[in-house]
Symmetry: D3
Amino acid sequence: MNDLLQKPRTVYVSRTIEFNAAHRLFNPSATEEENVATYGKCSNHNGHGHNYRLNITIRGIVDHKSGFLFDLKELKNILKEEIMERFDHKHLNHDVPELRDCVPTTEVLAVLIWDILEERLRTLNNPEIALHEVHLHETGKNAVRYFGE
Amino acid sequence: MNDLLQKPRTVYVSRTIEFNAAHRLFNPSATEEENVATYGKCSNHNGHGHNYRLNITIRGIVDHKSGFLFDLKELKNILKEEIMERFDHKHLNHDVPELRDCVPTTEVLAVLIWDILEERLRTLNNPEIALHEVHLHETGKNAVRYFGE
Amino acid sequence: MNDLLQKPRTVYVSRTIEFNAAHRLFNPSATEEENVATYGKCSNHNGHGHNYRLNITIRGIVDHKSGFLFDLKELKNILKEEIMERFDHKHLNHDVPELRDCVPTTEVLAVLIWDILEERLRTLNNPEIALHEVHLHETGKNAVRYFGE
Amino acid sequence: MNDLLQKPRTVYVSRTIEFNAAHRLFNPSATEEENVATYGKCSNHNGHGHNYRLNITIRGIVDHKSGFLFDLKELKNILKEEIMERFDHKHLNHDVPELRDCVPTTEVLAVLIWDILEERLRTLNNPEIALHEVHLHETGKNAVRYFGE
Amino acid sequence: MNDLLQKPRTVYVSRTIEFNAAHRLFNPSATEEENVATYGKCSNHNGHGHNYRLNITIRGIVDHKSGFLFDLKELKNILKEEIMERFDHKHLNHDVPELRDCVPTTEVLAVLIWDILEERLRTLNNPEIALHEVHLHETGKNAVRYFGE
Amino acid sequence: MNDLLQKPRTVYVSRTIEFNAAHRLFNPSATEEENVATYGKCSNHNGHGHNYRLNITIRGIVDHKSGFLFDLKELKNILKEEIMERFDHKHLNHDVPELRDCVPTTEVLAVLIWDILEERLRTLNNPEIALHEVHLHETGKNAVRYFGE
């Protein structure tokens, strides 16, 4: 089976999920004025929110037998446990311990998601796969990509 | 000019905008348990948020001279003043006086937007146009339409 | 609570789901040539498939207490049981008993989905709500709407 | 076959196409100033352009034998001849005789497309089908629907 | 003409097409139980299907005279002959000889498309262009990218 | 604050805008026949147009204090001044001096946008950020990426 895979093929498999969260861009060690100057209406006192769209890419060599890079059911599970349960229907400033001392910008959130998934994927002890990219869309217009560097 | 408009033509013109807001589905006159039973994770204490996509439709007879139903610049202005300034980057439960005694579900929000725009459009004293539809998308999967009935 | 709902408000709530299915447009009571003449490449012997996108709309008066038209968790459940389990990852010609004597065009599939959901919703004995529209997209270009008439 | 169609079923079948055209909103019987006041940057001298997305809906009773409302290949043909050849890669003000005395607003263009398709469909002498809706998107934010009234 | 191209400019030109196909994830050299364990509902006996969206990217130096990387009409032709005729409205397990001994996962399909297009583009004897990326979306949520490595 | 940023993190921040423009693919130093052979209907005399969607990516190390790569308000400003004012509601062949001696293909336009933004960003004297990618979509099917090489 899968003669096409007799030579190793490095593919990039991506999965997109969406979570809905509130946040406020506010640095408590700065003054109200500095916060408004930096974050504008994103620092409004009671916060606002987004439908975050998250696209995760894993890189590796396709398994010769299954034709999969990685068991999609396992990836769905990881994303449910690590991302959906942590961020979905939450307030990023108040409900996510890892963000307690952070301004929850899209940049910071993308970096955190990388750190969480990279550590989790390492526990699989599968040398054939690696986290490649976290691509986080805050709106249809703004997005951040992070490659772990 | 515009011979095609010599007989009256009733068109439906729509404009789509997006606002980012936080909310919490919570009825203060019910118990915590009742709220969880009704609203599930949408009643999480600190709220969550959405990129609301709002599609407004106005119905009327095309103006013979301009070929427009309605001056788009004026519509943009109305949507900016009535919708964006009221809802964008706000917390629906705390920052919108009109929602103070409401559970800010998508249904309630669509009804409120209708009431606001319908009243504002009436001040234009233009008998040729009428608000036709408020179509509010909370996510890519859930939406509510309201026609004022 | 929910003063905005003191007068009855009739809203249209829609939910979108996606299912992936194979089908073949083929009428066994016609000749091969007639099938090709009518259905073209859609009658290819081994079938093909689609990511069907289904948008269901329910119409009714918003509940004064909850601010919901209908419990979204219950709607999700109904769509899972009636639509996803019946159609997702299935071959419409072979795996769906209700379609055994049908050519599974988008029109026929939309009509069937209406009949299934209309009957199921009637079992709820909720006079406030009614199925309003089945909107089924076969591709990004082709879609069928059915209103039960 | 098609027992589901033993009672007549009225469906709404839609097809989406895209054409790329230039236009300028300019009324030659008005002054330059009046044009700028009405049309703003849309009246810039050399014109601009859009990827128009056109969604056409036909209403009628599903054919009992084929399970189709209407032969999609025939609809594709009609849209190619009447819409694509007339509007695609054209300048609406200069290349479309039917628009010669019109300001090519989205409203006017939707009305013209209705008139063209309604006349063409009438030549089919098929009493079971009728043009139902022309839905023309000028951008992702602005659209006009026309139902022939 | 095209002074901007006096120094060589390496661009990445992409074209998106869609094909509708059925498939079944099933490895005939494994047991039914192993197939279900690996592929879940994707191994259902009669198969299912998708609207595959394929995004092809070609890399190279823009031609100084035409301002094109590559004649788009020629690329459209190649995609029609090599992709649409081979995969569109087909059953991947039964109708595509190149996949006869493969499990038609998205990974395997992306690799096959690369091999086909890479070989075809080599026949053009144009040293200025090279296939850069095959990006294949099985659904709106799952996609595979392959760069030929 | 922002402990996650204590080690430097290189992110890629992108912003999407849309502008509507007319163009004609025509090389005045070639014959009419050569133009038709190269550009087909894209060389039609009066031009046509597009809703160009432009996705700009900036690469750099996230600022430890703000959690931003770059002040989004400043980026919006730059895109308004350099892109929207230059291209939106314009005819690329007639209204854009930088394109006077160019055939305004998507490739050429992407290269020009890179040159403009790269020069503008250099005036900021911010060594932490660099233009990474210009991704220009002419339609939903055709796009060009340019990385400045």
